[in-house]
């Protein structure tokens, strides 16, 4: 079962896809989210979101600024104000 990952900015829905793992730069430290993660909410600091499409694959790096991440039973949603790349 893959993890459903969504990256949303005010201007558009940047990503909405199924991935293996996402590493999010939380305010209190980076955390990786896999499928079946417990419900969790965190603000994020400016930094890189790493998206692993498959286990062991090279991560895709997306720079985000300002926002927060929410994990619920549907997957991971990252709301960011700015996205680069």
């Amino acid at each position: 079962m893959p993890l459903h990952f969504e990256l949303v900015t005010p201007a558009k829905l940047v990503r909405s896809e199924d991935v293996h793992m996402v590493v999010v730069p939380g305010t209190e430290g980076e955390f990786g989210v896999l499928e079946g993660h417990a419900p969790f909410m965190s603000t994020i600091r400016d930094g890189a979101v790493q998206v692993f499409r498959a286990a062991g694959a090279a991560p895709e790096i997306i720079q985000v600024r300002g926002g927060f991440a929410e994990v619920n039973e549907k997957g991971l949603t990252v709301l960011a104000e700015h996205v680069e790349g």
Binding site: T9, P10, A11, F40, T43, F68, E81
Partner: protein, 289 residues
């Protein structure tokens, strides 16, 4: 009775006006499509943000709630944030917005509250200054950028929040046009600050972990929510402006066409009358010989 030359001049001038309105209509139609797409692209963020807001706001309540959610406790000083367009040629859009703002201001003043204005966009300034010259506290000029984006919304929101923190107002209302269709754009008045508590209380079924804490997240979320509201208003304004402009220019083009037709008939008639008079003169002259 205008002379033939005068008529011809008028027909030509109406024709060039028609060309301009027609061009403006086509430009608006093209821009409308883009503005509508942008407005739709912004919706997922807004819906997700308000969902998160709803679940958080129901958890944090009472004295722990941040000022942006709970308010200052007073309800005396009101601020009307009026979002107008920068350009004209869009029918009654701006005057409708100003009318809605004035109606809200009168309603608040009737309740004994003090009202101030914060104006976004050029076209609302003059009509509001006429009636409320001393009550306009500030404004934001969006005419310097081509399409106002999130950066502009951010600047406006930060300024408003700073004013709120400084105690300049207790309640802020946002007046902006909602785009329904190219024919209908309704002025809408919503409460911006303090952030209205979401109506539907989400049942907290799962135990959600928060990092840092609920209050801290909510504190960061609220300014973001205000920004999103303003950004949404700017997007709606853009779509409404283009929609209204398209309709207004379509009407103008059609009116110009009708006017040209009328003037052409008048022109042909007077030309015919002139020819007939000339013929009568010739015939009368020939008969007299």
């Amino acid at each position: 009775m205008p002379s033939l030359k005068e008529l011809k001049g008028r027909i030509n001038s109406v024709k060039s006006t028609q060309k301009i309105t027609k061009a403006k209509q086509m430009v608006a139609a093209a821009k409308l499509r883009r503005a509508q797409a942008a407005a739709e692209a912004g919706r997922p963020y807004a819906t997700r943000l308000s969902a998160v807001m709803a679940s958080l706001a129901s958890k944090v309540s009472g004295s722990a709630a941040p000022k942006l959610l709970a308010g200052t406790g007073a309800d005396q000083k009101h601020l009307l944030v009026v979002v107008n367009t920068d350009k004209g040629l869009c029918g009654g859009l701006n005057s409708n917005l100003v009318k809605a703002a004035k109606a809200k201001a009168r309603e608040l003043e009737a309740q004994g509250k003090s009202v101030e204005f914060y104006l976004v966009g050029k076209k609302g300034r003059a009509p509001l200054r006429r009636d409320y010259a001393s009550q306009i506290t500030g404004g934001f000029d969006t005419s310097t950028v081509r399409t106002p984006g999130f950066e502009e919304a951010e600047v406006i929101a930060n300024e408003l929040i700073a004013l709120f923190d400084a105690g300049k107002f207790d309640v802020a209302h946002l007046v902006y046009p909602t785009f329904k269709s190219a024919l209908a754009q309704d002025p809408t008045v919503t409460q911006l600050i303090p952030v209205p508590a979401p109506a539907e209380a989400v049942a907290a079924d799962a135990v959600v972990e928060y990092e840092p804490g609920e209050e801290e997240i909510l504190e960061e979320l609220l300014p973001r929510y205000v920004r999103t509201q303003l950004f949404g208003a700017l997007l709606e304004r853009e779509a409404s402006e283009q929609g209204a402009s398209m309709t207004a220019m379509d009407n103008a083009t059609r009116n110009a066409g009708e006017l040209i037709q009328k003037l052409t008939i008048q022109y042909n008639r007077s030309r015919q009358a002139a020819i007939t008079t000339e013929l009568i003169e010739i015939i009368a002259g020939a008969e007299a010989l």
